[in-house]
Symmetry: D3
Subunit: 282 residues, 6 copies
């Protein structure tokens, strides 16, 4: 179960409120690279963890940390929407001030739906979607999902860092960027602990590889037509990363048949012509 | 631009049609681990590729291969829904055969909406959602997103392999599982080519690390209350994977303040009591 | 504005309640081919209608009729979920009756969320999505959208007709199928009234055709590789349907350049290697 | 910020695992009446709370409790999917055991996507959607949103109670139902503390009522056609609940005009006929 | 069934068209607080109503009224998008006028997709989502859902009132705000008619309370760590609102066990290390 | 299977990059009228095609062409976001340039999530949704779905043409508009080949018309109340388009009963008052 503290994990300060930056911050709350996603992803991975108990525990700890990041960002949104600063005051002193602020780039729903607070949505107002909570039951797959989340998350935080001049906001982002640095490493450290590429690949490593069609397991299939240069690299030559094969280049051709489906069954109510196999020019 | 062949990349054969398996196959078409996602993900990464041209080319080639995987799976769905096999014939010979088939575990929309064919949806009928198309503009982040897609995709294909006895379907899955093996390696090979952990971490590696709060960049924050065992591992000790720091354990406490928001602004129409800072027991 | 009657537009009778059929009926309520969609589509087209007033009026009338179809189908769902029939009684007499019924193919949310009534969702429980409400502002485009809705809607109703033996349900569907027949004609009658193909094509017909690249306005582009048979038909020869050109076959080749994007801008935080244009094998 | 404990808030025990019940439990995790929603709703209301600080604090406390309810339910799902019980063992001993289990009513994605664990989705596999996180910035509106969530949530838990015979699951549900009882009261207690109907209505009570069209503020508008009985009740007579008016019955007629929109502007590319105001029969 | 009138329920007049306000109005059409939601919610509650017939009738009447509110708002959107006013004319007289208008804060899809008319979406262009149509089958739960919809709806209308200077728009909003006042009261009047808190709580009141864990039915669980002040209020003391208990404060501790899941079953294809219970540091 | 070329189907040139136009172009990529939809729609129709093989082939060819249109538009987005032009340079030379560009009308996620590239979303950032991929199994219904897609798609392209002054962008749109012209004709040519209205109506034409309630198959139901003018036209008189009936006007009245549902079943946990059929005023 869970407990809370009445303080933030790290200080959140806004020197010059900017309703437009409040919109951008939504991406870090409810976006696919955001904190709701990592929080729920780590917690669901923990809740369903099977195997060595310490990974459940590790995931719980970091998932719990991330709830606090949502709190920090939601606080930052609310502070950026406050009318106390001179900049916003000026906007609100104009002829019809609310609509000016609304139309100057803020998320209208932060006002219309939330009365000047954060939403569970991204920077375009698209609601958080639970399908991004990856918890596959396979530890290595989940670790890569987590690295992805933290890599795109850190890219997002760096871009937000670029999009503000506010010292308070930059300070908060310095903290969040550093945490993303750690979390990228943390999930990759699990991969290392599991034996690296040779210990984990192919994922899932519990499926017997002899069951797969080994003829094509290390072939780079090239689908370019004549005239397109082959993109060669580490993936077209040398030992495979799992140590079990050699990369090869293969200009791929169909290995399969021309697909032929049965005529429509009567209950599916295609057009008669489909069922009779006729068409206008026959 | 693109071209097509009238043959499948690999043979698709269904010995004993099973409308229930046709439902499960939908996960590999329109699910978050499925082929629509990887196809569009690689193509969008290619379309937006900036930097060395060969990565665009490599992504185009594999993205194009994946269109053919959607085709294979959609063909497999259609064949599993056909009434030609004795098993399905029996089901359709019952009193009210369509409803029996529908209710025996198939996706009702494969009949109701598609007249016995595949949908752009997952195994629960949830439509494919474009937010899963990750193309971050950062090559390393994208490679980890691709590894994740292929790792969860291979886990899915292995589970589907387990869920059918049909020799034709098992044969098709052997091929797809092998391709997932290759594709996991392919994206990790790019990471290796870029210099591995030291060449890529922290992602994005173009953000100056001195801008982040280095004090907490390698700290494992432990949020468990007293009595919870600390989950130690590679992530709590030793050199960080980027070679720039040392992992540390940190039983975290709030570094921030108690958040205080301004009273509601009048135009936000909170309750009067909120604006006056009073409550019933004051 | 709108008014209601306390009677149904057409009789809804269920002789033998079947919770499984109640699930299938959801597709006709909240599915993409369903009545919520056509109802809202016609009403939104009416609400935004510009041009001859009679089309607004005609759309209002049919949109209003469709609200009553939602009512009929929701009533049919509720009646199919009732415990009064012997069939359902038997199911509920089993050991743990609710779970048996739930697991025998009904939509669990009709019980869990609605207490045995209809939902605003499709047959897989996916909620109705307003993006299917097409109202383009172009009358001809909207008429084709409406024909599509009624064509897929009638196919759905015919398939539902096949999926039940209940005389009451079949009677209700006979009515709905007939209405779909009429509505297909109604929207095509508008096209005819507007002058048919020559009066409406290309849609929108108010864009000056000389502004488009007329060289390719009647070419069937064939993208098959060598060995794929050309699919010839009405679309590869003869006068175009708008009477302004001749159909032609064109085995298409790229008319454009190889796309070259600028290097990543620094603020986008790509990997350094992308920005420097280097990769591991250089 | 937040902390966790390695124990559950209340004991979760499954005596006889049932993969079908694991599907139903999903509604209480990711459904609109579920724990993800209440958890996030209370936390977002807390994060954006303006006005008396104690309400923020109260919301934090209960929002934090709800994270633990997600944990309990996700644990219950995982336990219901375990192969250790004889019942499930038998299912898995059949010819093709996985597909039998999958097709016997479980959520296929609990296996295919999660490897036998909970998802962030509802009982139909529809992902949790953040638009259900209501945090309006108005305390009274939020309290009613919370009562709604707990009322539908308790109805759901009662229905789940009915849908299982498992003593462990019934025990867990007894706890969750009791908590829903408390939480309904808790939010209504805030309304009482704010002065009940007279202290809170109309919500928001900070909008000057004289600005609204008081002529229709207490009228029950009856839209039935002739022959429909008027539904009279507390809402058609007596003092209004805010004490500021009298309920009245009003058989409503249009007070507005026939809407007339301007012709389409040229850049909107309607059909020419719309722009010219002509139609085929003119 | 339903009928329509060619007049609006209340006059809709736009003195100075403002495409930006047309975007904000979308929230009142397709947003979670909007008219599509209340319209469909009341109608679905009516369609599935079981118990005293007058509630079905009352819901039908108000649901039907709400269709007319969608019509009013959609008309208001269309009028705000019209080029007839001097203000918009000026914008359209600029160099590239359409893009200026588009970029000045309007919803681009009102032009691109609808040709200057309303969409079935919210102020951020997110399509209406049917999962917000609450019809739980429990009358009291539904009444609170309806109060919530009207409370957030009235807050939204008040905020829109603040966001426009247009006399016509303000006049229309005065009407809609007044109707929301009435509708809040109407649903609460049903609660009063049912006996108020004692007659309805806990919802559902048909579940035998002795089946729930009465020990925790009136406890406010406090989850704050040491140092966090307890938020006391009406919910921590005094008689419970249902008259059946006493509120208590309870600084909650885990009552449950540490969750232990079985190892992964082989068919779920976890990593080998999970199945063997080993990790790199063992 | 599929192949690619390293050149674009048609030249994509941007003379003056405009990040705001990059947002509008998203509608043509991931919007309901966009290229992802037509591409996937034609391919899924092909993959599931039953009946004359040439239609599968024709659909494959055009579906494959459309992948190249996504590529063109994604390239156009990326070029519009580039900092190389003087116009964008100026914006980026301002005080805090990124936020200015972001707030000047561009899609913030093109920067935050994609690092200056296209997304699989529409002009409001709403992700592409697979439910728009219509493939009904009925050839005529699908052809009308395709005409709709190309009619709304061409209207969109014309509106985009209006929204830019850039010669390169206008040139690209001239090509795409011309292709939409052809594709509208192509799908209507199939209808003609199938025998036009008489050969295809009512869709599906394989359902025996005598099974439908022929009494109402050609009746225009008028639902306006007294005082509303009847909208007469081609649909109220003359021979029906399928040649099998006569259009008629019918001022519709209820043909059905007043719906009466059974009382709630106990396990559905309605309020007691519903189950007892009582209410407060009885």
């Amino acid at each position: 179960m869970f407990y809370y503290d009445n303080k933030l994990q790290y200080q959140v300060r806004v020197d010059t409120p900017d309703p437009r930056f409040a919109r951008l911050l939504q991406q870090a709350i409810g976006g696919v690279e955001g904190e709701m996603r990592v929080c729920l992803q780590y917690l669901f991975q923990a809740f369903g963890a099977r195997g060595p108990a310490k990974y459940r525990n590790m995931l719980m700890s970091t998932g719990t940390e991330e709830i606090g990041h949502i709190e920090m960002l939601a606080t930052a949104v609310a502070l950026n929407l406050e009318g106390s600063s001179s900049r916003v005051k000026d906007e609100f002193a104009a002829n019809n001030p609310v609509v000016e602020a609304l139309m100057g780039g803020m998320d209208p729903r932060q006002y219309l739906s939330a009365g000047m607070a954060a939403l569970a949505s991204d920077a375009n107002g698209v609601p958080f979607n639970g399908s991004h909570v990856y918890a596959s039951g396979n530890l290595a797959a989940d670790m890569y999902a987590n690295v992805t989340a933290e890599a795109t998350g850190r890219a997002l935080a760096c871009r937000l860092f670029e999009a503000t001049d506010d010292p308070g906001m930059k300070d908060m982002l310095r903290f969040l960027i550093a945490r993303d640095t750690m979390h990228q490493q943390q999930w990759l450290a699990v991969i290392e602990e599991l034996g690296g590429h040779k210990g984990t690949l192919p994922i899932p490593n519990s499926f017997p590889v002899e069951e797969e069609l080994r003829d094509v397991s290390y072939d780079y299939f090239f689908t370019g037509v004549e005239g397109v240069e082959v993109p060669s690299g580490r993936w077209t030559q040398g030992q495979s990363l799992d140590g079990m094969g050699e990369f090869r280049l293969n200009a791929v051709k169909p290995m399969g048949q021309e697909p032929k489906l049965a005529p429509p069954m009567p209950q599916a109510y295609a057009e008669k012509q489909q069922m009779e196999g006729t068409s206008g020019d026959d």
